[in-house]
Symmetry: C2
Subunit: 328 residues, 2 copies
């Protein structure tokens, strides 16, 4: 008995470096055949050389486990020659639109500075991954970004644009408004709301950006995921921070250890949709080449670790009814 | 030069007990001629004897400073005889409607259990202080409580009802809908929003209940305060917690040290409205008998303390342009 998933893939993942990378990567590599690895290191991953070096560090930390790191570049003004040369090393380029104002017109103006790169990406078929938030009020930042997504999608109709970690009903609705807009959805935005951050006691382990939203937003995410929408893909945005950093206010949820056990609960036996959300949609949309790998989840009580290295996982210490059955 | 306020009063204050009381009370007693002292101790203040004992502890901690503690009782099913006997000892009875559901009809039903006490209070002219929130989504709890306030006000038209620490535009609007509805507004709800809690790094020192709301809600509070609305009174809800408690998620902002310096900034020289908000409105609405006391605020740089006993104040370490000038 149990569920078997074919080549699950995490389309948005922070693996960090050094000791933390070694601590956290087994939790992803046991559950997934691959993952899109975000480039926000210090300094950011913004060259083919840095991609190679980071991928090698990840592969070493994998210790032989079959897991394909799908590498990304941090947005800057890349030349055609650079991207042409590095195309085969990367999956996408990640844009964090820092300094985007609440005014969406000004936001687009700012974005126009990178239009030359977007043209090159469109030609080379390099997807654009976007953290879509303005600098507005925390609950509205993502909603305010919707017109910017739409303008980008219309201005570059052949550029695949991945709206990362969408958290609002407005961005769910955008999926129907442009064929080249895709979305990733995290575990925590799918299952939780702002109530889990500030509704009872203040809980830093649910604090992330985009902030967890309203029950209505969560319902919209749940509905689109349950519908098996082909442009919606799982991306955990699992973002480990040492406990000390969390206590000083760092944003990020380390969800990696609990992903497939909690999604099993969420899908309640609808394995076909589960498979689409965590694997087939992404593989079909982006022709991903992942190692052959099946992951089995069994109904067996399992306690989430209290701490992984220096990082407190989501639902630390809780007993879950499902666990990963490691294939030997 | 400077501003002189006549008998400022804090209509909602948590003074705690023991060492913490001694640590925090000077910050209130230097700035105010009196304050409404909340009864949520463990165990709660729910008898005349407990009121006497708590008032004595407060008076001892005051160390001779002229400050009148306006005592309150924690709601329970008091008899007519009890309240008649204790009337002169207390200012109001505080209701924390724990267990009120998101459904306002059910909420009122639950409230009907205390209707006998409310009848007695109405007869004895004892104001009702209410923490008005349902158990709904954190950003909507107070708005959902609005119909409950309205029903209470209609069912007991001669009972003064103080909507404590209002934080939403909906509750501002209620002030016009029933003559016996009053409101207190805190410093932090007047000046800050949810952005200060979760908009940047997570900041536990801005975390409180009701949670800080949206810019639109804050604007409504600012407008009604600037209008000098006679039913709107300052109540800090200054709620000290030891740092250890804050790091474990306790809700409460310790604003006492910065109240009048920040309100001076807010009122920008409109001393008449400032005086109404922090004193005259409350004194006229409730015929308060406060010690003769004038408090002077001068334009002089002042650094907010980093810690008061074990408590981190609001804006700890910040330099403010105004300070209290202690009268001799």
């Amino acid at each position: 008995m149990g569920i078997v998933l074919d080549r699950p893939v995490d389309m948005h993942l922070h693996l960090r470096q050094g000791e933390m990378l070694k601590d956290v990567i087994p939790w992803s590599s046991r559950q997934f055949a691959g993952g899109v690895v975000m480039p926000n290191l210090t300094p950011p991953v913004d060259s083919g050389e840095k991609v190679d070096k980071y991928r090698e560090e990840i592969e070493e930390a994998l210790n032989g486990e079959a897991f394909k790191p799908l590498m990304t570049l941090f947005m800057r003004n890349y030349t055609y020659r650079e991207l042409k040369e590095w195309r085969s090393k990367i999956f996408s380029i990640k844009l964090y639109p820092a300094g985007i104002t609440t005014n969406s017109e000004a936001g687009v103006k700012k974005l126009e500075e990178i239009y030359p790169v977007l043209e090159i990406m469109e030609e080379l078929k390099i997807p654009l991954s976007v953290h879509g938030e303005t600098n507005g009020f925390v609950m509205e930042r993502e909603r305010e970004f919707a017109p910017i997504y739409l303008k980008l999608a219309k201005d570059f109709p052949n550029l695949p644009i991945i709206m990362e970690h969408i958290s609002t009903i407005e961005l769910v609705d955008l999926l129907e408004k442009a064929p080249n807009l895709y979305a990733t959805i995290t575990l925590h935005h799918l299952l939780f709301t702002l109530d889990d951050v500030v509704g009872g006691k203040l809980n830093p382990h649910f604090f992330c950006k985009p902030i967890l939203k309203t029950p209505k937003d969560r319902e919209a995410l749940q509905n689109v995921v349950k519908s098996g929408h082909p442009k919606v893909m799982f991306g955990s945005d699992s973002a480990p921070h040492p406990l000390g950093g969390k206590l000083r206010g760092s944003a990020g949820v380390f969800s990696a250890p609990v992903i497939l056990p909690l999604l099993t609960l969420f899908f309640r036996g609808d394995v076909a949709t589960f498979q689409k959300f965590v694997s087939s949609n992404a593989r079909e949309n982006f022709k991903l080449n992942l190692p052959t790998k099946k992951v089995k989840i069994v109904e067996e009580q399992w306690q989430v670790p209290y701490i992984v290295g220096e990082v407190i996982p989501l639902l630390a210490g809780k007993i879950l009814p499902f666990r990963i059955k490691n294939s030997k």
